[in-house]
Amino acid sequence: MELPSFAVVGRPNKGKSSIVATLARDDSVYIDRRSGSTTHTQSFPMKIGEETLYVLYDTPGMQRARSLLAWLQQNSTDASNRPATVRRFVQEHGDDPHYASECEMLRPILDGAGIIYVVDGSLPYGADYEPEMEILRWTGNPSLALINPIQGEAFVDDWRNGLSQYFRTVRVFDAHHAEFRKQLDLLELFGHLDEGWREPLERAVTALLLERDEQHHAAAGMIADLVMTGLTHSESQAIVEGIPQDPVKNLLLARYKSRLVKEEERCRRRVEEVFHYTQLQRAEQSLPLDEADLFNVENWYLWGLSRGSLLAVAAASGAVVGGGAGMMVDAATGGLLGGLGTVISGAGGALLSGVGAWRYSDDIAEVKVKGIPTGGSRLIVGPCPNLNFPFVVLGRGLQHHRMVARRTHAHREVLELDSALLDHVTESDRKKLGKLFAYIRKGKNLTRHRAELSGMIYAYCKQADEPPAY
């Protein structure tokens, strides 16, 4: 069976490369707002393992459509030999620099590629486009037209009317903002151009859906690991007796902060890689671990939870941990206390945790000094006792993931990450997360709690593909 292939063609600067970048999920495709940035045809094979399912071609824009059409009209006797005439044109002008762009564009089409003709729906339709559409019609290949509303949809209707004279299928596709589902819909539409292309394109869509799920899974695991690191990481250093502790403490604190910031950076890079971004630039504040950020409590509340939510979460998680101890008392007394132990210790835990949330709301990392049997002491900095901190890390991770997942590869703008977070997490989920964080902090059943945390984050990540929420 012939391999489905699609040549994305059109006038320069109409967003051909943007469409290819989005569909090929390739942010290395050079996209320039200046015209004619594509000078050679570039292929983008879609492969599953070693099997190629289809190929996209990004072609240079047509420059001399009128003279090319004139040549074709002069050299064609009737409609039946039009495709052969186009082929003859490429054979005769293959080395002619005058028609380099046209020959580059026509070659994949002559090899059987379907035609994806791209126009800009934000600019007016003009009769001067018609020669290039006519040339494409002459090739006889299956084709469809995409209206790419680069800066708005002001002229989409005009284009639809004009294009439908030359193409049976006309669709609007915003390469910069198309949701993942719309990208798949477009691929499915490509499959309808030729009966033989339908099956591989459907397989490609299925594979991409599976891959998308894997991407969310992977990202969720990475964010969960980052939160775990935030909850458990500490730096320590043995110091001999008599050595002043303050310089070592400052050094450890710096090392602690640097490690967490690096881990977050690494997590973000990985998430971007998973979504096939290799050249993404970000505009963001780093983890608020500096003194200035630390005392700017409002900043923490922006990234994580508000003080009110935090207290509710703290009380819920404290009650669970405290209640656990009470349950053991109740069990030991054979239930003679009628569950009083659980109630009292639960309430005590909630109260203590609430006070802790307030007390530690401004602390970065706990500093502990432990004696060493061989003499001297060990200074330990971390983990961060601030109850909001894991929410801050989680919120930033989810926000980053959402923006990356919803972005298309045609985007070249800097990723803006400074906005309110965790709005999409319900109050009950916040409490559940608070409890998980409390367990992880205590080192209880880490494997199971990591899996639970990862599962919750995965659910949030999946919501990135659902248009209304999160």
Binding site: D26, G36, Q42, F44, R66, E211, H276
Partner: protein, 477 residues
Amino acid sequence: MSASALKASDLVRLADQIEKDRDAGWQELHRRDAAIGARCTADEPAARLLCWLRETAAEAQDGKPGGRSPLSERSAGLLLSGGFLIAGFLTMVGFLFAHGQGMVNVLWFFAFFVLLQLAMSLFSAATLVSVALGNAPSPLSINPARLLASRTLPDWRRWREFQDVIQLVFLRYGQGMGIGFVGGALLAFIVVPAVNDFSFMWSSTFQLTDSAMQRFVHVVTAPWSQWLPAATVDAQVITDSRYQPAAARPGPARIESMRSWWPFLFMSMLVYALLPRLLLGWLSRRLYRRRLQRAFIGYPGADLILRRMKQPLIQSQGAAGSEPRPGSHGELLEEFRLPDDGVLVISWAGALDEGDLDQYRELRGTDPAMLTQAGTSLEADRAAIDRARQEDSQLLILVVKAWEPPMSDLADFIVEIARGGSSVLFLQPLRDTGIPEDRLDDWRRFADELPGGAQVVAMTRLPAGARPAQGGSNGTP
């Protein structure tokens, strides 16, 4: 490869390999892992992960000389169990010989070799339950099983990740040592009385009556009294074997009857010291295997490996991005005054018609007869070129749609019509929005690349009130 081949040290190797992979590219890792996944025939996640580990980490391990102690985890376990067997044997021998006149105090024996062992088993059971529930208390630093843990998991930095596995290593081998100790003691309890005369008596500083002792024996022997009555002690023997310091040394017949404590003590050790250890050993071994597998596949990053192994790599990217083009340096005129004659205004691709001239500051007042159309067809181009020749136009003004990209088609036309002469590109804005900088840049570059060069003028659309009359328009919306 089966998951049963999994060893605790594989956890460390997995952690090491994941650490090594942290800086590698995702695509590269996916490619490698998908290939390993295709070769691996195992179905279970732990077995697949082990398969992956063997392929990725084995080479690095093999490349390193020595490093590992010749004493394996299994050998260390056997060594410790053997040591405790000898210790148990010697303890029993010492205990038996420590009593003068070959008279062994049953209560002391029971306290040390049965109750203490049972208490330790109960402590282990509590720890096991705690670990099973997800709590992993730190093992005592004096625990000799640390020798095994250091063989199993040499890297203690990951204590937090592997804590329940380490705890189970302690528990598992702890039971082995306990079994060794009790086994050694039992062995000594068989061997020593066979070669030496021993008898048993009981005494207590508490006011323990014969009947209380009888009840105690009755409770202790409950598990076997029905099917092994020989291992119980009857009331007469209890009374006869009570130690009375003032009494004369008992006769041979009484000593012989006092020896009937032996089966009771032996069974007590067997049931209350050895059996719980065996049960705990079996349980901790089972739990250890399950937790080991869980910790292995639950290690941060392991899930991603398994997914990469399962999911073939999907690639849709091109080989390389195209190169950016150099910036422009064409000339942009701020002001342009149209001469009164010798000018031909060419509207390219229907940019404007006669009625549109007064809508632009730069063309206001221009004689409509100076305007001609081109770019709509090759015939129109030819006609415009002929007119420029006939009128010997000194200046060519090309009005182009600034929102469209400059095309070679236009360049060809300008080259032919201007013949190296002067031409100016008038950029017509779309609506009243002005011309975007990047588009302006395009046109400046285009003008600069023309053989004779060209000047560029950004046209200014006049406000509706400033226009003398509204003409038809075929190009400007």
